[in-house]
């Protein structure tokens, strides 16, 4: 199952996600984030706008590869991959 790792900044809003390994079923980025949202309701609102597109200053990568489809999040997260959630330097 893929693992999800995120910037510590998000623990401020979702402390229940801290100090735990987050795994989800493999699938598209949208499906993985949806699974995290079920663990922490409201989580995806911090990453995605109301159209489901990735917010401008948020980046995702699947292992070392930056997610390409920022609009519908169709990139595939394979079984043994890690999805990283981090802040884009453009927002800092």
């Amino acid at each position: 199952m893929p693992t999800v790792t995120m910037t510590r900044h998000l623990y401020r809003f979702f402390p229940a996600l801290e100090n735990r390994t987050i795994t989800t079923p493999a699938g598209s980025v949208a499906e993985v984030l949806h699974a995290v949202d079920e663990l922490a309701p409201g989580f995806s609102d911090y990453l995605l706008d109301e159209r489901g597109a990735l917010r401008r200053h948020v980046n995702l990568s699947i292992d070392d590869n930056i997610v390409i489809d920022r609009r519908s999040l169709s990139d595939r997260v394979p079984e043994k991959a890690t999805l990283f959630i981090f802040q884009a330097l453009s927002g800092g």
């Binding site: 998000l10 809003f13 911090y46 109301e50 159209r51 917010r55 200053h57």
Partner: protein, 394 residues
């Protein structure tokens, strides 16, 4: 008499309490998060802050225990199908020959929740919010759920009902520079005025479009910009294209409205049916962002003038507040207690407020000043706050 002041700042929410006769700031809330607006609902004491996260999107934050704990809400969203016509960013790259003449559409998403306005006592739970890109939202359950005002969103001045299909009219709303931080150039609703005599009657102000009025609870909207002169347009009396920086109305005399506009100070004593320019440039009263009106006397208002408009800082290095008590025919400048040398402050549109005889304002330089004698003398509440985006008495 108000006993609380809320600041929305670049680094969080600052709350002052009046303790005995002095104002004491609490430790900052939402530390590190930009807060573009903070206010207290006088009906039930709920505190509100509009969080302007750089990374995580706009959120409202609500405290129902006087600020001890806060709950962040993601409930204010555009509905599926809400679209707007994209405004072109005014950059040197813009090629006016490039567009085909067809409008470009974009699915709407909230960039900024710029204003929170509370409904009347008779409508508990009713709250309004104005956004970039130009949405008026209404909640009737204290902010748990929000509804976009569709008649305004689909107004003919914005291209008509884009939920239904392509534009059926020209878009007349321009962008606000306040949107450029989000990489777009879209309009914003920063002022919402509810008539205390009739909650179906309201005015809003849009940068950059102008003032609109509804007399039927938001079902229909009409422009109310007659008399507003727009120096930067070929036709200064154009119906649209105005840049009100802030509008406000006298609670006891709601037909008296005031507008600090990009192009001067304007006053209306007929419910915004007509506006009269009451700037007095020789007295420094012309450009600025905020404006406040007395709670009882609709002819009395205050502004914090600034150097227009490319400079946007205090005039001559000295801060002052100007007051009129005769509907803008004359203005009196008050400087006592305010810095008169090396001051470069600018006071943004939501950063001046009045409550009874008290006024307070804050600047983007992090200075906060309070007057308890109707603006005549001032005391400093601190010089080292983060840039101030809003000041509201609680």
């Amino acid at each position: 008499m108000s006993n609380m002041i809320l600041l929305g700042t670049r680094k969080g929410t600052v709350i002052f309490d009046r303790v005995d006769s002095s104002w004491r700031p609490r430790p900052i809330e939402h530390a590190g998060i930009p807060v573009c607006y903070a206010a207290r609902d006088p009906r039930d004491g709920t505190l509100w802050a509009s969080l302007d996260h750089g990374h995580w999107g706009p959120k409202l934050s609500r405290s129902r225990d006087g600020g001890a704990t806060w709950q962040d809400l993601s409930s204010l969203k555009y509905p599926e199908g809400a679209r707007h016509i994209v405004q072109m960013l005014p950059t040197p790259d813009f090629d006016p020959a490039a567009p085909t003449g067809q409008p470009e559409y974009k699915d709407a998403a909230v960039y900024k929740i710029w204003n929170i306005t509370f409904g009347p006592a008779g409508q508990p739970g009713r709250i309004y919010a104005g956004t970039i890109p130009g949405g008026l939202f209404v909640s009737d359950d204290g902010g748990d759920t929000w509804t976009l005002n569709r008649p305004l969103w689909s107004h003919s001045s914005r291209g008509g009902d884009l939920f239904a299909g392509p534009a059926t009219s020209d878009n007349q709303w321009g962008g606000t520079p306040a949107s450029i931080d989000y990489g777009v150039f879209e309009p914003g609703i920063h002022s919402i005025v509810i008539d205390p005599r009739d909650p179906m009657h309201m005015h809003i102000a849009v940068s950059s479009a102008g003032v609109l009025e509804s007399t039927d609870g938001g079902q229909t909207w009409s422009p109310r910009n007659r008399g507003v002169l727009n120096d930067y347009l070929p036709n200064p009396e154009a119906e649209w294209g105005h840049d009100p920086h802030f509008i406000t109305a006298c609670p006891a005399q709601p037909d008296h409205l005031w507008q600090q506009n990009h192009c001067g100070v304007f006053y209306s004593k007929d419910g915004a049916q007509t506006w009269q320019k009451v700037s007095q440039p020789e007295a420094g009263v012309h450009f600025g962002f905020p404006i406040a009106v007395d709670e009882q006397d609709g002819r009395t208002a205050w502004v914090v003038p600034a150097r227009a408009d490319m400079a946007r800082m205090a005039i001559g290095g000295g801060l002052f507040v100007a007051r009129t008590s005769d509907g803008g025919q004359s203005w009196q400048a008050f400087r006592e207690g305010l810095p008169q040398q090396n001051a470069y402050d600018i006071v943004l549109r939501h950063s001046l407020d009045v409550a009874g005889d008290c006024l307070c304002f804050g600047s983007t330089t992090g200075n906060v000043y309070l007057s308890e004698d109707r603006g005549e003398t001032w005391q400093c509440l601190g010089n080292n706050f983060p840039p101030v985006y809003s000041v509201r008495f609680g």
